[in-house]
């Protein structure tokens, strides 16, 4: 186990370095002048050459690229995530203030996806091709096709029309005012949770169907154990292993999905910040946030691998 953990951590460290290079390459080296991004194509043409050079030097963009990269890495190691072009708040402050909301959304949505996805999968797998199974499968296919942000807009509109209700817009932490905080968080969490539940239900169903066919299940049934007990205690734990892996991967995708979804709900979380940074072409904020997200994904992937290795000796020794 120890060597497995060490190997995963080493790979994770390499992955973080690789990811930082990818982010840097994508956002800094690809064609497209950052000044055009900042000032817009019209504003850019109005700048004189001297001004352009001065801005580039101010932003540290006239250094050679490897030097720029090293500066950036240095800043990150010192915990300095840079500033937005358009707001005075530093990226680190933004993350500290808005990050918790998004983390909350992600966690609640994962819990929801299990609460919805697993029972649906069990019902489907116990009676494959029954009416319930077909309805469940159609719903999961439907939810894979519905864009989350659109569902979010519909929910906001529906609540407004039917109940005249709108979630509070100002950010509130859970400790200060749990009720207001929950109202902000619950909408995006439900939308993202249902989207994941569709994947979870699909995966859990096929995994359960596979496990149910195995010999030890037949043995348990032959001993005279009740069908429900066999499914709940014998089949489900084994069937959930791939679902745990999937859920970890999906958690990463939820963080990405929360960008348009938070925009749709107007949730003051990190996803909204990212949506804003993208639409404003705020290259430095994007670069740091994308990197931050990428590190979170790498950590999540490692965590998932370690958890599944802990749960399943076949992975540990395989």
């Amino acid at each position: 186990m120890h060597s497995y953990i060490l190997r995963r951590l080493a790979f994770g460290a390499i992955a973080v370095v690789g990811v930082s290079i990818v982010v840097f390459v994508v956002l800094r080296i690809l064609p497209g002048d950052p000044l055009i991004a900042i000032f817009g194509p019209e504003g850019f043409t109005r700048l004189s050459d001297a001004e352009r050079a001065r801005y580039m030097a101010d932003l540290g963009l006239s250094d050679p690229l490897p030097v720029q990269y090293l500066h950036w890495v240095q800043d990150i190691v010192r915990g300095n995530l840079g500033h937005s072009f358009f707001r005075s708040e530093s990226v680190a402050e933004m993350v500290a203030r808005r990050g918790p909301l998004t983390a909350e959304i992600a966690l609640i949505s994962v819990v929801l996806s299990w609460l919805v996805g697993i029972p649906v999968a069990v019902i489907s797998a116990l009676r494959p091709n029954s009416l319930g199974d077909n309805v469940a499968r159609f719903l999961s296919i439907l939810f894979l096709a519905v864009p989350g942000f659109w569902l979010g807009m519909l929910i906001v509109l529906g609540l407004l029309f039917v109940f005249g209700y709108r979630a509070p817009l100002a950010s509130v932490s859970f400790i200060d005012d749990p009720w207001a905080n929950l109202q902000i968080v619950i909408g995006p969490a439900i939308v993202l949770g249902l989207g994941q539940a569709a994947y979870i239900a699909r995966m859990a169903r096929s995994s359960l169907l596979e496990v149910i066919r195995e010999d030890y299940i037949r043995t348990a049934r032959a001993k005279g154990l009740n069908r429900r007990v066999v499914v709940a205690l014998h089949a489900l734990p084994n069937a959930l292993l791939p679902v745990i892996t999937l859920s970890g991967v999906l958690l990463g995708f939820v963080l990405a999905g929360s960008i348009p979804v938070e925009r749709a709900f107007g949730t003051p979380g990190l996803g909204y910040t990212m949506a804003l940074a993208v639409s404003e072409r705020d290259v430095f904020v994007m670069q740091n946030l994308v990197f931050l997200y990428a590190v979170v994904f790498v950590v999540l992937n490692i965590a998932v691998d370690l958890v599944s290795a802990w749960l399943d000796p076949r992975i540990r020794y395989g």
Binding site: A15, G18, V19, V22, V23, V26, L27, R28, L30, P31, G32, I36, A37, I141, L142, L144, A145, V146, P147, F149, W150, L151, M153, L154, L157, L160, F161, S206, G252, F253, L255, A256, G257, I259, P260, R263, A264, A275, V278, S279, R281, V283, M286, V290, Y293, A294, F297, V298, N301
Partner: protein, 306 residues
């Protein structure tokens, strides 16, 4: 097996007509066979074809010019004149939804074909040559997959600047790993087969073995992969448009329309939200179910992989 059923059906058709069937009739026969095998997917295939037709014939079908604003009909709910209502500068929503299908489908098809093809060739090389090249490639693919597609596409689209080409490239890059993985797995299993070995024994070059013996077997997985990924590509395109890094306005795309609706006042009018989103959902649903059907008919073994 499925192919033999198809072949016998073809052979019977040939025997009955007494002449080799024309390509058109062969395609029609294939489609009929597909419809019998999997009627649900055929139904969704028809819807997908209808959406495709709508995209191609958009100017003929749309009742109004999607870009022309009518200041007498600003932010009007659905009515006799504008079935889907009109937006804040009086553009007809129905026409914009119809024209929006062009952008969505062009981007989706372009991105999936580009990305999956690049990925497929990469996977072919990895699977065929193996060794260090394969190991390094697999690590790179793992990196690419550890980024959620949306964030990667967003960053690339933002860096490259707005435009249809950019969006296609951005989404295509996120599709490469999938093509790479699936085709590599197919090639790995093909490589060991006796007929490939025989070709090698006869002294065929690597290029010849790949092109003549392995590539044709990759066509079915490639097709399946491409159709199933169209839906994802459409959703990413819409999300990019929604976030303002897609195809720049005034070009009507479904994502742009949804983003626009947020600017139409404090509360977005429901018809500006409902119709573009419904168009996205219906299109993605159609392509996903068609893809599932094609997969089940052509190669059910790929059920878990794609």
């Amino acid at each position: 097996m499925s192919t033999t059923v198809h072949d016998t059906a073809l052979a019977q058709a040939q025997a009955a007509s007494g002449a080799p069937p024309s390509p058109l009739r062969r395609i029609a026969g294939g489609l009929r066979w597909f419809a019998r095998r999997s009627p649900m997917s055929a139904f969704w295939g028809v819807i997908a074809a209808a959406i495709l037709t709508m995209a191609i014939a958009a100017p003929a079908i749309a009742p109004y010019d999607p870009l022309k604003s009518d200041f007498r009909a600003m932010t009007k709910p659905p009515s006799e004149r504008h079935y889907f209502g009109s937006d804040q500068i009086g553009r007809d929503t129905l026409s914009r939804v119809i024209h929006g299908s062009r952008a969505s489908l062009t981007v989706a098809v372009g991105a999936v074909v580009l990305g999956t093809t690049l990925g497929a060739f990469w996977g072919l090389a990895c699977g065929y040559f193996g060794g260090r090249f394969d190991i390094i490639s697999q690590r790179i693919i793992e990196f690419m997959q550890s980024f959620p597609d949306l964030i990667l596409a967003m960053a690339i689209a933002m860096a490259l600047g707005a435009g249809m080409g950019t969006v296609i490239v951005a989404i295509a890059i996120t599709r490469i790993p999938f093509g790479g993985r699936v085709i590599r797995a197919v090639v790995l299993s093909l490589k060991e087969l006796a007929y490939v070995e025989a070709a090698r024994g006869l002294g065929a070059s690597h290029l010849r073995i790949m092109a003549q013996h392995i590539l044709p077997q990759c066509v079915a997985p490639y097709l399946i992969l491409a159709t199933t990924h169209l839906g994802v590509a459409i959703i990413i395109e819409a999300s990019l448009g929604f976030l303002g890094v897609g195809i720049p306005p005034p070009t009507p795309t479904w994502g742009n329309m949804l983003a626009d609706s947020l600017n139409a006042g404090l509360v977005p009018p429901w018809w500006l939200v409902l119709f573009p989103g419904a168009a996205i959902t219906l299109t993605v649903l159609a392509f996903n179910l068609l893809g599932d059907g094609i997969r089940d008919v052509l190669d059910p073994r790929l059920r878990g992989a794609v």
